[in-house]
């Protein structure tokens, strides 16, 4: 079986459809396509052996192919509030940087995430964060505050967490009990755009920490693979459900590590999605290999793909 690796293609609009066709022909998947003025960014999965071929085809088009470890993941960037104290810097800069590494990021601004005594997390915030592959918590400057309020902010969160804060990594590790999956120290509340080399180095460190955490999850998934690879299911939905192409969202179907988020109303489309045929003969439907659930994010649909061990089906 060919291994698909996450890559980002950056190039011009001119003849980019050739690259898209090539990725398709090679058996790869395009998870996200961004057209910005004359530039195109394709987040995709391609067979490892064919990366050089894509590079060769892209050469005359001045396109470049880089490995992007976070393609196909949806990450929540959690900010203690939407006040000027925490935004736009830190949280937005983190979200933007993770996006460059291929992730689809969503900002979650908590209603009451500030103050060490009064901080809390409501059920909607908890459920929304739990719908992601990983949560990055952008916390503040004082060790004391992080120590006191973090247990509240993580209550009920089941996805891996990476914490950022001003204290150094060792202090964060000491302050947070039980431990989380990743720590990046020296970030905290920053009131200017991240531009100095040491600040950008911190963001690189964060990307490494996030990809390390997600790699561990991927390894676990490899032992009990999903019944269908999420980008493959995404291609099936896009092909069979024409309504998806009419949505104006930047990512009408968002790929996650273990599922998909479809930005169509649950009440109207859940049954249609459940009955979509996954195999050519129509013997297997989406409903057989995945749970189609209502998302807490607006009225979207969340698809959680079941593992092979549960369905005994591998598409």
């Amino acid at each position: 079986m060919t291994t698909l690796v996450p890559v980002t293609y950056k190039g011009g609009v001119y003849r980019h459809d050739e690259i898209m066709d090539l990725i398709d022909d090679l058996g790869g998947y395009i998870v996200q396509k961004h057209v910005m003025a004359q530039d195109v960014v394709l987040q995709s999965f391609v067979p490892r052996d064919d990366i050089d071929l894509i590079r060769e085809v892209a050469k005359p088009l001045a396109g470049e192919v880089v490995e992007a470890p976070l393609v196909g993941t949806e990450i929540a960037v959690v900010s203690p509030s939407l006040e000027i104290h925490h935004l736009p810097h830190t949280a937005c800069d983190i979200a933007e940087y993770l996006r460059r590494a291929g992730a689809k990021t969503n900002m979650v601004g908590l209603a009451r995430g500030f103050g060490k005594r009064i901080a809390n997390l409501n059920d909607e915030e908890r459920d929304v964060i739990n719908e992601h592959d990983l949560a990055v918590y952008a916390l503040g400057s004082f060790e004391e505050c992080i120590r006191q309020k973090f247990p509240v902010l993580r209550r009920g969160i089941q996805v891996p967490i990476v914490v950022t804060g001003a204290p150094d990594r060792e202090t964060l590790v000491r302050a947070i009990d039980p431990p989380v999956e990743g720590y990046v120290g020296g970030v905290g509340r920053i009131m200017h755009r991240f531009k100095r080399p040491e600040e950008l180095a911190k963001l690189d460190e964060l990307v490494d920490e996030v990809s390390r955490t997600l790699d561990a999850r991927r390894d676990a998934l490899a032992r009990d693979p999903l019944s269908v690879f999420p980008p493959r299911l995404m291609a099936i939905i896009e092909e069979q459900l024409p309504e998806v192409s009419m949505l104006t969202h930047p990512t009408p179907v968002t790929a996650q590590m273990e599922g998909l988020r479809v930005k169509l109303p649950y009440d109207l489309y859940a049954d249609d999605i459940r009955s979509l045929a996954v195999t050519a003969d129509g013997a297997v439907t989406v409903g057989d290999i995945a749970d189609v659930l209502p998302s807490r994010m607006r009225n979207y649909i969340l698809i959680r793909i079941k593992p092979f061990s549960e369905t005994r089906i591998l598409v």
Binding site: P80, S81, E83, I84, H85, H86, F114, G115, K116, R117, I118, A119, G140, S141, F142, E143, E144, C145, A166, P167, D168, T171, G188, R189, I190, M191, H192
Partner: protein
């Protein structure tokens, strides 16, 4: 950031102290208050929890009068105001309308305002206060301190008068003697009595 004459951030948490020094610097720079503030002392302790900022303003801008931006020419039939700087034209017109009525205030072009002769004397017009920039400056300084202080510190007490200002905030109720207990000693460190 060009240094204030005195800028100290104190905190029992060394990392937090450094972070707040940068936060304060960035905020003052963003809001263009570095030239306005002369001295600033911040004390922040998350364990109490308390945030105190105290300082001095460099000089308060004076009230803007008509003579600061316009020439008053008294003629036989009319009084002509020759506007040099349009910044305060809108508040000036609003005041003239209120005082002399819209029908008596004519503005033939951008830089000229005409009043009928005899409604006001030259001295009276020249000394008329049009705007007081210190009012908005007070708001800006308090806003900046609110912005610097940790967000959870919602309970606050603020003061700004005669170039001295302080801002005390906490997550819990502030004790009644907080000014005597914490703010006065900070002013003393800057060599000022509150």
């Amino acid at each position: 950031m060009p240094p204030l004459n005195y800028f100290v951030v104190e905190s029992p948490d060394a990392v937090g102290r450094e972070a707040y020094e940068r936060i304060a610097g960035d905020v003052l720079q963003d809001l263009d208050l570095i030239k306005v503030i002369d001295r600033l002392h911040i004390y922040v302790d998350p364990k109490v929890p308390i945030f105190v900022a105290a300082g001095l303003l460099r000089h308060m801008p004076r009230a803007i009068r008509v003579s600061n931006f316009a020439n008053v020419n008294i003629g036989e039939k009319m009084i002509v105001l020759d506007i040099g700087d349009e910044t305060y034209l809108a508040p000036l017109l609003r005041q003239l309308w209120a005082r002399y009525g819209k029908e008596n205030v004519d503005q033939p072009d951008r830089f000229t305002v005409v009043l009928p002769a005899g409604v006001a004397g030259e001295e009276e017009l020249e000394q008329m206060v049009v705007a007081d920039p210190s009012e908005t400056l007070y708001k800006d300084v308090i806003y900046a301190l609110q912005y610097i202080a940790p967000e959870g510190f919602k309970v606050r007490r603020q003061y700004i008068k005669d170039e001295k200002f302080y801002y005390v905030a906490s997550e819990d109720t502030l004790p009644g003697d907080i000014v005597e207990a914490m703010v006065r000693p900070i002013f003393a460190k800057m060599g000022v009595t509150l």
